[in-house]
C-alpha cells in the first residue's frame, strides 16, 4: 500500500541539511553526556551515595546515546516540497505529519537562526497562516536556501494572497 505520507504526485521531498544532526547532537547529546560524566565522577567521590549516582549517570548516558541516534533519524524525516500551488512539509518518525499550506494562505514567512545554528549555517523557516495549528516550521534549512525560500514564498503569497 502506498505510504500516506508521500508527497503529492509529481513532487519530490527536499531534505533538510545534515548539519541539523550536528547541531542537535551538540546542543542535546553533548550536554547530557557531560552531565552523565559529572554524575559518575560525583559517584566516585561521594561514598555514601555511590550507587544512586552511578545509576543516574547510566540513565542519563543512555538518554544521551538515544538522542544521538534520534538526531539522525528525526532529521532525515524532515522534508519540504514546493508544488505549483502549495508548500508541503513533512516531519516525524514516530509521530508523522504532513501539512499542505496553499501559497495564498500565507500571512508572512519568518527565518530564525540561533548562534549554534548560524555556526553550522542553517536556519528555521516558519510559515504563518491565520491559523496557529498550521505550525509551518521547517528545521535545518541551509542559510542561502532559507533566504531563497523566504523570498520565493513571500512573492508567491503576495501574488496569490486572498487575505483572511
Amino acid at each position: 500500500m502506498a505510504n500516506p505520507f508521500d508527497p503529492v504526485v509529481g513532487a519530490e521531498w527536499t531534505r533538510v541539511s545534515p548539519a541539523l544532526i550536528k547541531v542537535r547532537r551538540l546542543t542535546i547529546s553533548l550536554p547530557l553526556t557531560a552531565l552523565a560524566i559529572g554524575l559518575f565522577v560525583a559517584g566516585g567521590l561521594i561514598e555514601s551515595a555511590r550507587w544512586p549516582l552511578v545509576a543516574a549517570a547510566a540513565l542519563v548516558f543512555s538518554g544521551a546515546a538515544w538522542t544521538w541516534s534520534w538526531a539522525e533519524r528525526n532529521t532525515a524525516a524532515w522534508g519540504y516540497a514546493e508544488t505549483e500551488r502549495e508548500l508541503l512539509i513533512t516531519s516525524g518518525v514516530w509521530w508523522r505529519r504532513l501539512v499542505a499550506v496553499p501559497y495564498g494562505r500565507m500571512q508572512f514567512v519568518d527565518v530564525q537562526a540561533g548562534p549554534v545554528h548560524r555556526l553550522f549555517g542553517i536556519a528555521t523557516v516558519t510559515l504563518h497562516t491565520a491559523s496557529t495549528e498550521t505550525a509551518g516550521h521547517i528545521l535545518g534549512v541551509e542559510a542561502a536556501e532559507a533566504a531563497r525560500l523566504r523570498n520565493a514564498l513571500t512573492e508567491l503569497g503576495e501574488s496569490r494572497g486572498a487575505g483572511v
Partner: protein, 431 residues
C-alpha cells in the same frame, strides 16, 4: 485639519473618571471577597468597614490619577490608510491598524461608562497574540460613527473622515427571550454537573454522618449561581440583526456589548447540541473570527464567539446558509474505522467528516454533539498525521486548520488510505 492629523484626537476627558470608578469598584470587590472568604479574620466590624471603604476610596483615587495620566498621553489618528493609536508616559507605544487587516469592530459599554454615555471601541486584527486594540472612552455616538467608518474602510470604501457616514440599514433576525436563556442554561451540562456535585455532597454528609461534608454544597452552590448569573447577565436581550456590512450582535444587562461580524470574516461555524438540549432540538451557534481567540482572556470577551446562545434548527440553518454559502450535496463522507475503537470506545461511532461543494463539515461528540463547518476558501492549511498507536491500528487523522476558536474540523482515526485520499482531495479543494 493637517495640524489635527499630526497631533491626533483625544479620547473623552471623563475617561480618567470612568477608569477610576472601574478600578475603585474592582478594589472594593477584591477586598470584600477576601474578607468574606475569611482572610481578614479578627478585625471586627468597624475594621472591616474601614478597610473596605478605605480600599474603595484608595482604588478610586489611584484609578483617577492613573486614568487621567493615561488619558493625557493617549492620542488617535485616522488617516487615509490606517488608524494609529499612541499612548504611554515613559515608553511611547504606537499601534498601527491598517484598515484592510481589520477583522471585526465591537462597541462595549461597561456599566460606569454607560452612565456617562461613553463607550469603548475594540478592533480585532488577524494573527498575533495582541491583535485586539481598544480605544476607551469616547461618546457613544462618536464610537458608533468610528465603527461605521472603520467597517467601511475595511471593505475598501473611502469615506469622508469628517462626513457623517450613512446610517446603515439593519433588519432584525432574532431576539432571544431571556427566559429561554435561563431555561437553556439550567439544562446545560456544566449547570447539571454543578447540581449533581451539590447533591453528592449532601448525600455524602448523610452516608458518612459527617455534617462538615454538607459544606461542600456552598462552593458548588456558588458555582451554580455564578453560571446562571453570568450567562443571563451577559446574554440579556441578545439581539442578532443583519446589516450591510455584517451581522450585529447586541447583548448584556449591565454592560452592553455590540459586535459586528463582517460576513466575509467568518472563518467557520460550530453548531453545538448538548445532551439534554437535543430532546428539545435546541442548538447553539458559535463562530470563528480571526482575532477573537486572543480576547478570551479578558472577562468582557468570555462568550464573544457566541453567534446565537440558543436557537431552533430552522433559524440556525437559515443563518448558516447566509454565512456559509454552499451547496448541500455531499461529495464524500468518511467515518472512523471500527479498528479505531481504542482511541474513542464510544465516540468513534458518532464521528464523521464530510466534503461538500464549498464547505467541509465534521461531526463529533455523543454527549455534546458538535458539528463544524468551514468554507474551503477559509481553510488555512490541511494536515494528515499519525502516531505510533494509530500506525498499529492502520488509521490516520486529517485536520483542516482554521484560526483559533470554537471551530475544529478533523477526521479522526480514518482508515489511513481513506485519510490520505481525503487529504489529497481537500488540498485540491481549498484553492
Amino acid at each position: 485639519m493637517s495640524n489635527e492629523e499630526a497631533i491626533g484626537h483625544r479620547t473623552h476627558p471623563l475617561t480618567g473618571a470612568v477608569q477610576g470608578a472601574l478600578w475603585g469598584g474592582g478594589a472594593f470587590l477584591a477586598i470584600l471577597g477576601s474578607l468574606i472568604s475569611g482572610e481578614g479574620g479578627g478585625v471586627g466590624v468597624a475594621g472591616i468597614t474601614f478597610g473596605v471603604g478605605g480600599a474603595a476610596v484608595a482604588g478610586v483615587i489611584i484609578g483617577l490619577i492613573a486614568g487621567y495620566v493615561g488619558w493625557y498621553f493617549t492620542r488617535y489618528v485616522i488617516d487615509g490608510t490606517e488608524l494609529r493609536i499612541t499612548h504611554g508616559v515613559l515608553t511611547k507605544k504606537s499601534r498601527r491598524i491598517p484598515y484592510e487587516r481589520i477583522q471585526s469592530v465591537d462597541v462595549a459599554e461597561p456599566l460606569v461608562a454607560r452612565i456617562f454615555k461613553l463607550a469603548e471601541l475594540r478592533i480585532d486584527m488577524a494573527g498575533g497574540s495582541e491583535s485586539t486594540t481598544t480605544l476607551r472612552f469616547l461618546p457613544i455616538d462618536e464610537v458608533r460613527r468610528l465603527r461605521r467608518l472603520l467597517l467601511a474602510r475595511a471593505h475598501g470604501e473611502s469615506m469622508e473622515i469628517g462626513g457623517d457616514p450613512v446610517v446603515e440599514q439593519r433588519s432584525l433576525i432574532t431576539r432571544v427571550p431571556t427566559e429561554r436563556i435561563v431555561i437553556g442554561t439550567m439544562l446545560s451540562l456544566d449547570f447539571l454537573a454543578a447540581i449533581a456535585a451539590a447533591i453528592a455532597a449532601v448525600v455524602a454528609a448523610f452516608v458518612f454522618d459527617q455534617a462538615a461534608l454538607a459544606f461542600g454544597v456552598l462552593p458548588t452552590g456558588g458555582a451554580v449561581i455564578q453560571i446562571i448569573a453570568k450567562r443571563v447577565i451577559e446574554q440579556w436581550d441578545f439581539t442578532l440583526s443583519r446589516g450591510d456590512r455584517g451581522l450585529r450582535i447586541e447583548r448584556g444587562l449591565l454592560s452592553r456589548t455590540s459586535q459586528t461580524i463582517p460576513y466575509d470574516r467568518v472563518q467557520g461555524i460550530a453548531v453545538k447540541e448538548p445532551f439534554v438540549w437535543r430532546r428539545f432540538s435546541w442548538q447553539r451557534l458559535e463562530v470563528d473570527v480571526a482575532g477573537y481567540a486572543s480576547r478570551s482572556g479578558d472577562d468582557a470577551g468570555v462568550d464573544i464567539s457566541t453567534l446565537l446562545p440558543i436557537s431552533d434548527p430552522a433559524l440556525a440553518e437559515a443563518i448558516i446558509a447566509e454565512l456559509v454559502p454552499a451547496r448541500t450535496e455531499v461529495i464524500t463522507t468518511d467515518r472512523p474505522t471500527q479498528r479505531s475503537w481504542p482511541f474513542a470506545p464510544i465516540g468513534w461511532r458518532y464521528r464523521w467528516i464530510e466534503a461538500r461543494h464549498g464547505v467541509v463539515v465534521s461531526r463529533r461528540g455523543w454527549i455534546e454533539r458538535t458539528t463544524c463547518l468551514v468554507p474551503h476558501v477559509k481553510s488555512q492549511s490541511v494536515e494528515i498525521r499519525q502516531g505510533p498507536l494509530q500506525r498499529w491500528r492502520g488509521v490516520a487523522t486529517v485536520e483542516v486548520h482554521t484560526p483559533p476558536g470554537p471551530v475544529d474540523v478533523d477526521g479522526s482515526h480514518l482508515n489511513q488510505s481513506e485519510a490520505r485520499r481525503f487529504w489529497d482531495d481537500q488540498v485540491a479543494r481549498v484553492h
